[in-house]
Structure formats: C-alpha cells, structure tokens
C-alpha cells in the first residue's frame, strides 16, 4: 500500500503506476459490465454460462452471455480504446489539445458512407453477394472514412511533406463538405431511412456480435501497434517539427503512420458503432491529468482510459431505462462533459491561473 502510494507520488513512476491502475480498472469495469444488464443474472449463472456454456442447448442465458453481452462489452472496450488512443496521437501530432479523431474527417466520412448506403442502397452488381448486402452499411462507412481522410491527406501534402496546419484546415473543410452531403441524403431519405440514419448517427455498441468484433480488432490492434511505435518521436514533436527533425525523429513517416492508423482504427470502429463523440477528445486529457504528458504512457493510457469510459457509459446506457436503452453517445456526453469541466477548473485553481 505504502509502495503504491509512493509510486503514485513519485513523478518518475507515476505514469507507469496509472497505466497499471487503469489496466486493473478496465478488468473490473469489464467484469461489472458483464454482470449488469436488463436481464438480472447472478454471478453463479454468468460463470456457469462462461465455463460450460458455449453451444449448450436449451439455456437462454448462454446465448445472452456469449452472443449479446460478451461481444458488446468487448466492442465497447475496443471502440472506446481506439477513439482514445487515436485522439491522443492526433493531439500530439497537431500539438493541439482540441484535436480528436473527427478532425481529420474520418468520422464524417464514415457517416457519409453509411448515409450513402442507407439512402441509395447497395449497388445492383454487388447485391447478389450475401456478405456485401449483410454488411453494406459498415462496409460503405469504412470506405467513406478511408476516402475522406485520403482527400484530407492529399490536400495537406506538399512536395512529400504533410503540412499540419493545412491538414487541420482540410479536415475542417471535409467535415463541412460531408455535413452538406449528409444533409442532402437526409433530405432525400424516406421515413424509414431517416430513422435508420438518425439511429446510426447516435452511435451504439448494442448491435455488436463476434463478426463485427472480428472486423474491428485487427485494425485497432494494428493501429495501437503503430502508435506505440511512434510514441517516442511524438514526444520529440512536442518541441516543434524542426526540432524533432534535428533530434532524428522520423517526422514525415510518423505523420503518415498516425494518419493511417487513425483512419483504419476509427474507420473500422465507427462503421460498426456509428459516431460516438467525446471519448477521443477527453480520454487523453484525463490520462495526462493523472500520468503526465509522456507519450510512451499517454498512448497506452489513453487506450485503456477510452475503453474504460465507453464501457462505463454503455453500462449506464443499458441500465438507465430498463427495459429500453439510451443511446450511448448521449450518456458519454452527459457524464463526460461536466466531469471534464470540473477537471479543467480544478487544474486552473491548482496552477493559479
């Protein structure tokens, strides 16, 4: 106990302490999440289903645990983690605390792709392939996310170098453009399509299954790997681009890597969950307030923090209005925004500003 307290207080071990603490918190939150839901299940039943349940006939609880709750809580963790870690990397890249994955157009592009698929339907020549028609919306959303960031990236690239300021402006422009296009689709949509669109834009991990999880995890894992790889150069970048270059940081490769990682991870996640805001912005800040600005810890810490946040928000979304469900995006903002303000105020008081 005393050692843990000492680790928490010592600035050298503090970030490591909080990453470990977050990992423990994530495990507890995942367990709590597995144990809560509209269907009141005791831990005995849950453990029984986990232990011997896969494929057992005649037990409704098994299907509930294995096919609804498990994929759902894992999707919550993976999606939240992806948003958190990409937010951290982009805040580092832009050297701007307001950056989040939405800034480079990946979420907006995903929304546009989904809107396209919802309103226009699956192209005729693809309609016959079962996997395409089943996953048309996530597939279109992923393509939309890739396309939007590709546009932003190519606009911001000049003579082989990514201009970060232009990247930001191009991101804002592509957000406005896709917003307009989504507006057109909303206008053209029929009643049923409109409801599907609004459901998608609210964001939910409720539809998660093993297939969608299998679609997300490889991209998120790859992105996490890339971002961990560039954590040290991100620290150098905090001193400015030219200084980072003089320090030998692979600045251009890092920019490309971060953009590609964010596009893949966030694109894959939003294509299954819809747009979930705020996690990507707030998770890195929360970690930095606890564990300081060193990216070697901020990157994994933001992943854990984001996953933790979204899991907690999803439990509340499920439990607040049983047997109905609140969209998780609403919960995230309702809880996260005031808490974030509180932290800002506390920080201000502490630093005397």
């Amino acid at each position: 106990m005393a050692r843990a307290l000492a680790a928490c207080l010592d600035w050298r071990t503090r970030p490591r302490f909080f990453v470990v603490a977050l990992a423990v918190a994530v495990s507890l939150v995942l367990l709590w999440s597995l144990g809560s839901g509209a269907m009141p299940l005791g831990w005995g039943e849950i453990l029984d289903s986990l232990w011997n349940g896969y494929g057992r006939e005649g037990y409704r609880n098994d299907a509930l645990i294995w096919n609804l709750r498990l994929p759902r809580i894992l999707m919550g963790f993976v999606a939240g983690g992806a948003l958190g870690v990409c937010g951290a990397a982009l805040q580092g890249l832009f050297r701007n605390p307001l950056a989040d994955p939405a800034l480079i157009g990946v979420s907006a592009g995903g929304s546009l792709g989904a809107a396209c698929a919802i309103v226009l339907g699956v192209p005729h020549f693809l309609g016959g392939i079962p996997i395409v028609s089943l996953y048309a919306i996530p597939f279109a959303a992923f393509l939309g996310a890739l396309a939007a960031t590709a546009v932003v990236y190519s606009v911001a690239t000049w003579q082989g170098q990514v201009q970060v300021a232009t990247l930001l402006l191009a991101g804002i422009a592509i957000n406005a453009t896709t917003g307009a296009a989504i507006g057109w689709f909303t206008f053209l949509a029929s009643d049923a399509q409109l409801r599907e669109l609004s459901f998608w834009s609210l964001g939910s991990v409720g539809g998660a299954n093993w297939q969608s999880l299998a679609g997300c995890v490889p991209f998120v894992a790859l992105a996490l790997g890339i971002l961990l790889w560039y954590a040290r150069p991100l620290n150098a970048l905090a001193l400015g681009e030219s200084n980072a270059r003089h320090m030998g940081a692979p600045v251009e490769a890092m920019k490309r890597g971060i953009i590609i990682a964010t596009t893949l991870a966030v694109g894959a996640v939003v294509s299954f969950t819809g747009t979930i805001g705020f996690v990507g912005l707030v998770a890195p800040h929360l970690f930095r307030m606890l564990g300081g600005p060193d990216h070697r810890w901020v990157v994994p810490g933001s992943f854990l923090m984001g996953g933790c946040l979204l899991c907690v928000a999803d439990v509340i979304a499920r439990m607040a209005a049983i047997p109905a469900e609140v969209p998780v995006g609403i919960v995230v903002s309702t809880l996260g925004a005031p808490f974030f303000l509180f932290l800002l105020l506390r920080e201000k008081r502490r630093s005397g500003g």
Partner: protein
C-alpha cells in the same frame, strides 16, 4: 478453467471464420401454441390483442401502444424502432409480436439468437394488410372467430362509405408544426393512405415520405382541409393557425379554418379500428360529420371502454372547422 479457455478459443475461432451465430440464429424458434407471456410492439398490434380479448397474456408493450387506456398501464419495452434485445428478453416473453416498423434490425436478429419466437408484420399501409395482421394474430392466439368478426366489421365500414360525389377534397397532413417548421406527409405514408381511403386527395403528393414545406409551397398546394393529430393540434392551438402554419391563410383550408384533428394511433395505426377511422375521416372530409354523440363506437363490440372523450373531441374539432 481449461473449459473456459476452450470456450473462448472456440468463440474466437468462430468469430474469425465469420460464423459466430452458433445459437441457431438461422432457425427462428417455433411459435408456441398457447403463449402465456406476450410482448407486443406496435400500437396497431397491441390494439388488436385487446380487441381479440387476449390481453391477459400481455406482459409489456412499446411506447406507441396508447390504446386502449389499459395498454398504457403495462410495462414499457421502449420505442418500437429502438428496441434493446436484452431489455425485451428481460421481460421473459414466450412470444413477441413485432409491427413492421420494429427495429433496429440488429436487435430483432439478437432476439432470434436468444431463442425467443416472434411474429412480424408488414409495414404496408393498407386495409388489406391491416386485415391480414388481425387474422394472423387471431390464428396465433387461437381466436380465429373473433378475428374474423373484427375483419368483417372493417369490411362493413369500408362498404358503407358514401361514394364520393364531385371533386375530391385536397387534404394536407401536418405531422408537426413546431416552431413554424412544417413537416408534411407525402406519398407512401400512412396519412397519405388514409386520405385516399377516405375519398380525399393528398395535396402534398409531389414527394415521398415526410418533408419540410415552406409557406409558399403550402399556399401553392392549396389544400381544402388540414388534417393533423391531437399532439400536433396542441402545438397549433398554442401558436394559432396562421403562426403555426405560415401560408395557410392563402389556402381554402385556412380561409374556412378547416382543421380535422384525430388521435394519431386511431388515424395512422391501421389496427382493428381502421374502418371506423376511414369512415370518420370521410364523414368529416365530405362535410357529413355526425354529431359527437352518434359517432360510430370504436371498441364497443369487444367490451373495451371506448374513448368517448377522444372521439367527441375529434367530432367537435371537425365540426368547428366547418
């Protein structure tokens, strides 16, 4: 413990091969003979269950089930288009009735995965679909005769509609008028179908589904009557007709102050009262509205108390408008 790792391994493997639906998602479970715990999603469906006298087995309904009064006292499973699979499952139903609008698709799919049988209906807005829905529910609940009676009642009401003489009145259905932003129903909507059935013409038939309409467009549509729901009527009453529907003053409907107000589930639900609703609307459209006291009774036959206040209000509103 080894078992657990084995299960997880199997799960991951199944997920990786894209074949995770190991709990019989493909085979919808069979509908039970004598369901004891029914969850009903959709106002028209719930109404039918009550009209058939089978409400004893109802354990929960969705928020759109607002008629009869007793249905509003049952536990709610959320809005029909945003169901939660685990939430519905927690009510332990042995049968779920799903209106065509029920969703999202993932939740419906998950209910199948959980092994809960369901009966789904089409989202078509027609008298035929309404009758088919009643007969299907009657068959599932073992009340075929009562269902036939309800269908016969609808047929009677439809047959007794007066043959329209002269021009068909142009009607505009206002879905919402909040903040003078007008949402009007075009082709393919339930309101469009009702207006046609009642011998009217949808003034807004140049577009599909619900669209916002400007003051000038409203004036150009020149409706003879405004049709709206009790909920929207409250918005209109607060703001006044001209303020709520800018441009209405230039139309025949606005000049004659002709606003027909009906309960939204009654008008748009396509449930067992659809025949009455069409007759009611037709009477008000063609200026032969009966006085409130003699309006056709909606639910008198099946022993449910009819919503006298609601119907009377509709009649009065209709008359006042003329």
């Amino acid at each position: 413990m080894i078992q657990l790792f084995k299960s997880i391994f199997v799960g991951v493997l199944l997920a990786a091969t894209g074949n995770g639906a190991a709990f019989g998602a493909d085979s919808t479970p069979p509908v039970p003979k004598n369901p004891q715990r029914i969850v009903s999603v959709g106002g028209g469906v719930t109404e039918t269950i009550y009209a058939l006298g089978a409400e004893a087995a109802l354990v929960a309904v969705d928020t759109s089930s607002t008629y009869p009064e007793a249905a509003t006292k049952l536990p709610k499973c959320g809005y029909q288009r945003t169901l939660s699979a685990e939430g519905v499952a927690s009510l332990k139903p042995d049968l779920i009735f799903l209106a065509g609008a029920a969703g999202p698709p993932t939740a419906i799919e998950q209910l199948g995965v959980l092994g809960i049988p369901n009966v789904r209906f089409s989202e078509e807005h027609s008298v035929e679909a309404a009758k088919a829905q009643i007969l299907k529910i009657g068959t599932v609940l073992g009340r075929e005769e009562k269902a036939l009676e309800l269908v016969r009642n609808i047929d009677q009401k439809m047959a007794s509609l007066p043959t329209p003489s002269g021009a068909r009145p142009k009607v505009i259905f206002v879905l919402s008028a909040a903040g003078s932003k007008l949402l009007v129903s075009g082709r393919g909507t339930a309101a469009d179908a009702m207006i046609r059935l009642a011998g009217g013409e949808n003034a807004a038939d140049s577009f599909e589904s619900y669209k916002p309409v400007s003051a000038e467009a409203l004036a150009a549509m020149a409706p003879d009557a405004v049709l709206t729901t009790t909920r929207t009527q409250a918005q209109i009453a607060d703001a006044g007709l001209e303020a709520a529907l800018p441009g209405i003053g230039l139309t025949p409907a606005g000049k004659a102050h002709r606003v027909i107000v009906m309960d939204d589930l009654y008008l748009l639900g396509f449930g067992p009262r659809v025949g009455d609703a069409v007759a009611d609307l037709a009477a008000q459209l063609h200026g032969t509205a009966a006085s409130p006291g003699t309006l056709p009774s909606q639910a008198g036959q099946n022993g449910q108390p009819k919503q006298a206040g609601q119907v009377g209000q509709v009649g009065q509103a209709g008359q006042a408008a003329q």
